[in-house]
């Protein structure tokens, strides 16, 4: 029972990280109608920039806080140099150009930081366990990720639902030509949203770094998962992305934790432990296929 609770918390934590990544992606897709495969590269860059800044400042919190504006600037720069030219183009051009960006960023990281992976240590004050329930310890760092992730999710919900900027963003997602005609500075809005997406991606990358490792291409596989999440949730829908991220997080973690035992009942234990992660990954894609067959524009996507 406690084991289940812990694994579900891990699922929440993974789900929140993926929500951070998916939020920026679903906004750029919904508002700018842009497929940005290089979003995973921003996730990676966030982690690498944080690694450098943490080394320079010798403080996890300070380094992480400085890395956020840095990824924002990087996002705005990428938008100004490449992305801006892609808005009016078809999806194929966007896929191709941002695929080129992935190759560029992966190689850039290899040239600047070298081919070997980096690791970021869990900050000292979080390097312990806390009792979430009496007698149930949980790593404090993972709990901190949940707090920060949930905080950002609430902030984003408030931003989108309650502020003027959020109103413009929502209006842009449903009809981008109309808000341009109404006198909203579209170019500025797009830069801002892209920069915001970059910050969230960077934040996800640097928070994941102490758990996973900082390595080249770390964003490539999780990007696909983030794309799956926004497709399940419906393109442009923050709410959809959140729900889908939570579901995918649970499937992934709980599948990994409990499938091996289930599979061991009818296969050898080594085969079971190697098949389980694959099956939980496959389940995610099966879920996506099922959702798309049932609702071709995702759970909360706009019907066309």
């Amino acid at each position: 029972m406690e084991y289940l609770l812990l694994q579900m918390l891990n699922g929440v934590q993974l789900g929140l990280l993926m929500f951070l990544l998916a939020a920026g992606l679903t906004l750029t897709l919904g508002i700018m109608d842009l497929v940005n495969l290089a979003h995973g590269s921003l996730y990676m860059m966030g982690a690498y920039i944080a690694w450098t800044l943490i080394g320079v400042t010798d403080s996890f919190v300070l380094g992480a806080l400085l890395a956020l504006p840095a990824t924002f600037l990087l996002g705005v720069a990428v938008e100004a140099v490449v992305i801006r030219r892609l808005y009016a183009r078809d999806h194929l051009t966007q896929v191709l150009a941002t695929f080129g960006l992935i190759l560029f960023f992966n190689e850039l990281v290899r040239a600047v930081w070298g081919p070997a992976g980096k690791s970021i240590a869990v900050p000292g004050f979080l390097n312990r366990t806390i009792e979430i329930l009496p007698g149930v310890p949980y790593p404090a760092y993972r709990f901190a990720i949940i707090i920060v992730g949930a905080g950002v999710a609430i902030l984003l919900a408030w931003l989108v639902a309650r502020t003027r900027l959020g109103m413009v963003i929502r209006a842009g997602a449903s009809n981008r030509r109309m808000i341009g005609a109404l006198g909203v500075n579209i170019e500025l809005l797009f830069s801002l949203v892209f920069g915001l997406g970059a910050v969230f991606a960077g934040l996800a990358g640097l928070m994941a770094a102490p758990i996973a490792s900082v390595r080249i291409g770390m964003g490539d596989d999780i990007l696909i998962l983030a794309l799956v999440i926004i497709v399940i949730g419906g393109i442009g829908s923050i709410k959809g992305a959140f729900i889908a991220a939570m579901v995918v997080g649970q499937i992934d973690i709980v599948g990994r934790a409990f499938l091996p035992d289930l599979l061991k009942t009818f296969m050898s234990s080594s085969a079971a432990s190697s098949a389980a992660p694959a099956i939980s990954q496959v389940l995610v894609y099966v879920l996506m296929a099922a959702v798309l067959v049932w609702r071709p524009t995702g759970l909360f996507g706009q019907r066309t």
Partner: protein, 322 residues
Amino acid sequence: MMAALRTPRGLATALILLVLAILPLLTQAFDQRYLLSIGTRIVIWSIAAVSLNMILGYGGLVSFGHAVFFGIGGYAVGILSAHGVSSGWIQWPVALLAATAWAILIGALSLRTRGLYFIMITLAFAQLVYYVGGGLEAYGGDDGLNISRSRFPGVIDLRDKANFYWLCFALLCATLWFCSRYANSRFGLVIRGAKSNELRMTALGFPVFRYRLAAFTISGAFGGLAGILLANEGAYVSPAMMSWMKSGDLIVIVVLGGMGTLFGPLYGTIAFFVLEEALPPLLNLAHKGWGEYWMIVFGPLLVLIALYARGGIDSLLGRRHE
């Protein structure tokens, strides 16, 4: 036939095909074995690129999971081989059948969606198979599986590199021939018509979905063929051969060569492999040590091609008249 040779396109294509036809003789004469293995991969990837072009180029359907057919074709050969079935007469038809069946299944589901959702769902299905491949512990899991080349006793010995190359080249020619028939048939015209205006084709009474499903299936079958050859070329199958980056490479190749043109995928594959081989030494000439980071140049080059050169290499060879 002779008139076609007078255009730059005709001449270039004839030269390329001629060089490819006698490549084993050339590499033997100049003692460049390595070039033959690159040549073999170019020919195999060309088959895959031509097959992707059938739906991407002619049909306008951005399938972002075409490398999955490398995997299906390859793994069908690999798994049979692991169980001691080494005869190509059994391996190849089974692999083609598997690729065809998978193409029908995912085509039927994916083609219900449009645009971005289609890109994503084809990608997702490819990832699904990718993870299944990684989870097949009995067949090597993530590490892949070493196999021996398919046997066709008394007909052809594929262990001979030149023989294998010529078989691949013959299959490429057959694929190109099929594609030219496909593109100019009534069937192909429906597919191309649906690319420019789906609504109009539907209004004309064509069941666009069924036509597209047929095209998707044909494309998948040829993709599976490329997978069979790729597995035989390296005598090895692994999930890496169907990673989504490989699907991306295939799209890059088709666009680089020229979408919706018969020989575009062939030009694209050659250009892609030549860039991969030539950029590192060129960069090393400019500054020693830069060659290792050739993708820093290749990535932005891709961005520029996507933005400004969508006609691909084919459009550099002058206007087309059909």
